[in-house]
Amino acid sequence: MFELQHLSTGYGNMTVTPDINASLVPGELTSLLGPNGVGKSTLLRTLCTFLPPLKGRMLLQGKDIDTLSSAQLSKLIGVVLTERPDVQNMTVRDMVGMGRSPYTGFWGRLTAEDNQYVTEAMLLAGISTLEKRMFNTLSDGERQKVMIAKVLAQQTPVILLDEPTAFLDFPSKVEMMRLLRRLAHEMRKVIFLSTHDVEMALQLSDRLWIMYPGQVVIGSPAELSRNGELTRFIQADGICFDPELMSYRITQ
């Protein structure tokens, strides 16, 4: 359980989103939706602890994140970022193995047990056949799956992803979202991601966080459809929400 209490995000003395009260539950895939520049990245960076919260608390398994060391945090929160690591000469297996570094010793050597976790993580992410390939020779979709395998090897109860479906072609986007949903459900992890793929988020998320300037609205896709939030979310000429089909339609 990842709980946000009166959390305000922002930079310096500029508040982006004030007073967020919410919790992320194990076993649920949660998608963060919102237009560009509304503060999705700022919120995600705050949850990743890359950015200090301006106000409020974040509780992870009942403990205030402020009281945890970076070593402890690295075993609790795993992240997948939009920036692609640009590394030469690193095999897929080595990259996934980097996820074990919070657990390895001084030289970062993997034990037999670590290697076992790496193999399992690659299997779960469906990249076992890529094992010996060099990371920088992979396609965008493959790289993204490797980074997910890396975060699985890190064995954190919370996984945060910044636009994991960006840059992917349509089938890869669907595959990625289904993989994340399966991981959330089967491994009882907290999975929280930001995305612009609204349709897919509607169909595959257990919970949606819709971000407006200075405000976050939270609910299951069905709830948000019923109370008109999804209609309100995209109010643009030529787009309308069809509550029966749970999807957006483009009017001629």
Partner: protein, 336 residues
């Protein structure tokens, strides 16, 4: 398996080259006599041979070896820290900073005093000046580091830094004595023979501590390859790691620059040569691989510089760009 094989080959090559450095020099001494002197036996017919081997060839070999190891290690750490394949102590202008520090002491303070005739205290002053210069440039680079991820910006910054320090050095040269200028220019050509036996311990201690520091950074450096945020998420204190890399490279560059002159290109080129042979990104393998390759190359350079046929000694910086330039071109062309 492959990695340990390559490391073993490099170690053997290093030992052979080190031996070759002791056996051959500008004066030809029979191999058997060299071995006798090394094992502690004097050669009564030629008492000066003992002096040449123990007071000249041994320190020169160790100087070259450690200089190569140190500069290549700097290059590797900087390339990882800036995530830029063109990073290296000379191209980033770090040794230009060290240069300026040395120039200030040599030309402004002591004027006519040559480095060789300085006392150990004076030597320390030169090292401290080199170190201060190197650290100032490193701090400047770290402040600009968000821009430096772009290889072109990095090169431009390095060139600009070198121009600025160059102009200050020109001014110092202009107002210095003729002898001071000559000494400074000779120092600038690079030289592994400038460290005498009594200064060798200081040189070794400074570089050994820098190299040990590099080994302590193996695991965080691996994580930094993925980018600062991923590294932070893996529990690495990125800020502290940066500062340690800053300190280690500053110490290593400043010490080698102060003792051997600004040896160019090695720091940039050697990590790439090691990468091509080892084909890994893991610093646990790359760091010893880079050190050994760097050591081998400087020992080879030193051997070529003092080859008996030439009769005189060629400055080190005549040879190092010949190795470095092709590697830089290769890296640039490969990335296009």
């Amino acid at each position: 398996m492959r990695h340990s094989a390559i490391i073993s080959v490099l170690t053997v090559a290093l030992l052979l080259l080190a031996m070759a450095n002791l056996l051959w020099g500008s004066l030809s001494i029979p191999v058997a006599d060299v071995l006798r002197i090394l094992s502690g036996e004097p050669v009564p017919e030629h008492p000066q041979w003992t002096y040449i081997i123990l007071e000249s060839r041994v320190p020169q070999m160790l100087t070259a070896l450690l200089c190569g190891m140190s500069l290549s290690t700097c290059g590797l750490m900087l390339q990882t820290l800036f995530r830029n394949p063109l990073a290296g102590p000379s191209i980033l202008g770090i040794d230009a900073g060290a240069n300026l520090g040395v120039a200030l002491v040599m030309l402004l303070l002591s004027g006519t005093v040559t480095l060789g005739s300085l006392s150990v205290g004076g030597y320390l002053l030169v090292i401290l000046a080199a170190m201060t210069g190197a650290l100032c440039i490193m701090l400047l680079l770290l402040m600009l580091s968000s821009l430096l991820r772009n290889p072109v910006m990095l090169l431009i910054t390095g060139v600009v830094i070198s121009y600025v320090t160059g102009s200050v050095i020109s001014l110092l040269n202009y107002s210095a004595t003729e002898e001071g200028v000559h000494n400074y220019i000779v120092w600038g050509m690079g030289n592994f023979s400038g460290v005498s036996m009594d200064r060798l311990p200081l040189y070794c201690i400074l570089l050994a501590s820098g190299l040990t520091g590099a080994f302590l950074l193996v695991k965080p450096l691996d994580a930094i390859l993925l980018g600062e945020r991923y590294a932070a998420n893996l529990g690495v204190n990125v800020h502290r790691t940066r500062n340690w890399v800053l300190l280690c490279t500053g110490l290593l560059t400043a010490t080698t620059t102060a003792f051997c002159g600004p040896v160019s290109f090695l720091g940039l080129a050697v990590p790439h040569i090691a990468r091509m042979t080892l084909r890994t990104s893991s610093h646990r393998i790359m760091l010893p691989g880079t050190m050994l390759t760097g050591g081998c190359l400087t020992l080879l350079c030193n051997l070529l510089c003092t080859m008996p046929s030439s009769g005189s000694i060629i400055p080190v910086n005549v040879l190092t760009p010949l190795i470095g330039a092709p590697v830089i071109l290769y890296v640039i062309l490969k990335r296009r």
